[in-house]
């Protein structure tokens, strides 16, 4: 009986003390926020028929199908010494800077033509206001198409950072010239420049090289 009374008394005290606890003055401050992400989107600028723009040597046919993610083209009826180029621009439409991680390529080629179907690339960076970035101009030598990715990865293109709105223009900037005058008119050809080497023998007739070049971009702060 005594134990029961003690237990009841203890409970009453506990409840009273709780009441006292709630009666203390209180206040609070809060930090409310929204965490929203940006986006990452690198595109080919597409204003057909102005961009991408195709220029070819005599008697060479060209067909282009472009979207913001992919450009598909066909150059046909090439011959030794024949050439064609495609003028295209990659733009960073992201909200963050991006970095070119690497170039990759897949190739399906007739063996006879593979060593003689060559490409050279000329490029420079343009800032968001459209001005060429000084010192960004670069070019590759002519190499077989299968070697294009490795060649690009050996240039300043690999690791190049594009801030939002900046572009890589495949071509030469004002004040520079292309050393590749393939038609002898005194004006060098540029951009992504394809040719069939003049040493190509007769068994390269009616052959072709199909390829896809991948330009892989990552966010600027990724190692």
């Amino acid at each position: 009986m005594k134990k029961s009374k003690m237990l009841i008394a203890t409970l009453v005290c506990a409840v009273m003390l709780m009441g006292v606890g709630y009666a203390w003055w209180t206040d609070s401050i809060s930090l409310g926020g929204t965490v929203a992400t940006g986006n990452m989107d690198v595109i080919w600028e597409n204003y057909e028929p102005i961009l991408p723009l195709v220029l070819t040597g005599a008697y060479i046919d060209a067909d282009v199908d472009a979207s913001e993610d992919a450009i598909e083209f066909t150059f046909s009826n090439l011959y030794p010494g024949g050439f064609a180029n495609i003028d295209c621009v990659a733009k960073n439409e992201s909200t963050i800077p991006v970095k070119l991680k690497e170039a990759r390529i897949s190739v399906d080629a007739d063996a006879e033509l593979a060593p003689y179907a060559e490409v050279a690339v000329l490029y420079h960076k343009v800032n968001k206001d459209g001005w060429p970035v000084l010192g960004s101009f670069g070019l590759t030598p002519f190499v077989p198409i299968a070697d294009l990715a490795d060649t690009l990865n050996g240039t300043a293109l690999k690791g190049m950072i594009l801030n939002p709105g900046e572009r890589i223009v495949f071509g030469v900037p004002e004040g520079e010239t292309s050393p590749y005058d393939l038609d002898g008119d005194g004006i060098g050809e540029d951009c992504f420049l394809f040719r069939v080497n003049t040493a190509a023998p007769n068994d390269t007739m009616e052959t072709q090289v199909d390829f896809t070049l991948y330009l892989d971009w990552v966010q600027f702060n990724q190692e």
């Binding site: 080919w44 040597g57 993610d69 450009i71 150059f75 992201s94 179907a117 199909d210 390829f211 990552v218």
Partner: protein, 184 residues
């Protein structure tokens, strides 16, 4: 037991870190292309001899690949004449230009070579085959795509051919035209 737990913990951490690695944002743009070549093919479109009389013997044939005309002349006599009706067609996907002509004679070459004459006109301008070949680029040196040039080459045996060296002789010839792409 402790080792097993450590191993599991390590694997979990590794997988979590992999997850972090793949979580970086990425994007890819592609440039796909086909580079295809055309072809070059020039042929003789025909090779028919006509006009030689029944006494003179002459024939012309076109090889199966239409690349070579072979002519044979037998039983000719001074003043015998005929015409080779021929043509050259550019079946290429690009224009072509003439780079070389090669003529080879067979038979009694030494005796008849100087006396077998050719011309692009039936009544004048006859010259030796060698002289003709040297000047042929004045007549044809470029063929556009699909261009088909018909032509007649008149042959005759020189009326001044001497008896002692040209009687009972025969001569044949192969003419080969070498073509090259227009931009070479």
């Amino acid at each position: 037991m402790k080792k097993t737990r450590l191993l599991i913990a390590t694997l979990v951490c590794a997988i979590m870190l992999m997850g972090v690695g793949y979580a970086w944002w990425t994007d890819t743009i592609t440039l796909g292309g086909t580079v295809a070549t055309g072809h070059m093919d020039v042929i003789f479109s025909q090779a028919d001899l006509s006009g030689f009389d029944s006494i003179a013997g002459a024939s012309a044939s076109l090889s199966e690949d239409k690349k070579t005309i072979t002519c044979a002349f037998t039983n000719l006599y001074p003043g015998a004449k005929g015409v080779l009706n021929s043509g050259i067609k550019n079946n290429s996907t690009i224009p072509v230009k003439l780079s070389n002509i090669d003529v080879t004679f067979t038979g009694d070459v030494a005796q008849l070579e100087e006396h077998l004459l050719v011309s692009l006109s039936p009544n004048s301008g006859f010259v030796t085959i060698e002289q003709f070949v040297n000047n042929v680029e004045d007549y044809i040196d470029y063929l556009a795509i699909d261009e088909n040039v018909g032509g007649q080459i008149y042959f005759k045996m020189n009326e001044e051919a001497p008896n002692d060296s040209t009687e009972g002789k025969s001569i044949g010839l192969n003419i080969t035209f070498d073509w090259q792409q227009f931009n070479r």
